[in-house]
Amino acid sequence: MDVMPYVLAGWLFVVGLYGIVTSRNFVHLIMCLGVLQSSTYVLLLEVGYKAGGTAPIFFDAKPGPTAVDPVVQALTLTDVVVGVTVAAMLMALALQTHKRTGSLDPADARIMAG
């Protein structure tokens, strides 16, 4: 049994989390969140994969048992676009923090303490 592809997803998750925890810059932090998020895409696509599978597109192919799971692909596809806009919103927050404190370091963002 082959677990390496799953380990890749786990590694992306942990390495993204490590980046977030040790981040010294909000832009870097948002990018690390993207890495962390991509681990879910990798895992979803892996769960739906079949050895020797084909794309679940039947425009020029007959529907057959070789096509991979379209459900996990649908989940991934919507989240890729949504993830970009959420990252944009976080970037806007980082921009305003930089305007107020003159720094992008999360450690300097005392203003957020209230």
Binding site: V21, P56, F58, D69, P70, T78, V81, A88, M89, Q96
Partner: protein, 250 residues
């Protein structure tokens, strides 16, 4: 908190999380041996029952259309968040006019070759984006992907060094309206199902012939409205950030 303390506090739970992840992966079906019935079922049903040759689109906009409304409203809320966060602050002011600002910054011109390539790419990008949107139920693509391509077509105008043209081509009011009507259109299609006496978002329009552009019932309509929303939403995000970078001064 010091960086080292933070790392130490992180180290202990992360080892636990990694162990739990590995343990759960060991319980997953072996890679490449898909077990679940749902994917196979949808692959078998999408063409005969929904006349949709793209099974992924059938999941997104038909079988689980309700989830996609949720996803779309996350996008909607995020774009509104960007607009709200990047509004003009009390101590800030805008440049008098974009034209004057551009004249004052005329030194930041770019190579003509870049401008020519970028302007030349605008029309192909618009066409490609529209093509991807309207063929979403047939081949890979759809409103989400096509919308992104449409937004990048407009961004090409900016990359060509024509910020003023970019602003004129995408007036903010129109983008707001496009984003709102895109999101609203999806919900309206859902109500069409209810008006026809079926469930919310049920595919009640004529299904047509598989493989044709006018087929798959409500799918092309939803793809169009999603394409509008994603395209306008991303453009709005770019619009706000570019204005922050080029127009707003404190």
């Amino acid at each position: 908190m010091k960086a080292r303390t933070r790392l130490a506090l992180f180290a202990i739970p992360v080892v636990g999380v990694a162990a739990l992840l590995l343990w759960s992966f060991a319980g997953l079906p072996s890679f490449g041996h898909y077990r679940g019935p749902y994917g196979n079922e949808i692959n078998a049903q999408a063409v005969p029952r929904r006349h949709t040759t793209n099974a992924v689109a059938a999941v997104n906009f038909d079988y689980r259309g309700f989830d996609t409304i949720g996803e779309e409203f996350i996008l909607f809320a995020a774009v509104m968040g960007v607009s709200a966060l990047l509004r003009l602050q009390r101590q800030e002011h805008k440049e008098e006019s974009p034209l004057e600002h551009a004249r004052a910054h005329a030194s930041t011109e770019m190579a003509d070759s870049v401008a020519v390539v970028c302007m030349g790419l605008v029309t192909p990008f618009v066409l490609l984006g529209l093509y991807i949107v309207v063929h979403g139920h047939l081949t890979p693509g759809g409103g989400f992907q096509g919308g992104v391509i449409l937004a990048s077509a407009f961004l090409m105008v900016y990359l060509a060094g024509r910020y003023i043209t970019f602003r004129q081509l995408s007036p903010k009011g129109l983008l707001d309206a496009g984003e709102g009507s895109g999101a609203g259109g999806f919900v309206l299609v859902g109500f069409v199902g209810m008006l026809a006496g079926a469930a919310f978002l049920e595919n009640v329009l004529p299904l047509g012939q598989s493989g044709k552009v006018f087929s798959a019932g409500t799918l092309p309509v939803i793809n169009l409205s999603v394409g509008f929303e994603v395209g306008a939403g991303l453009l709005l995000v770019m619009w706000e950030f570019l204005e922050q970078a080029l127009m707003v001064r404190s």
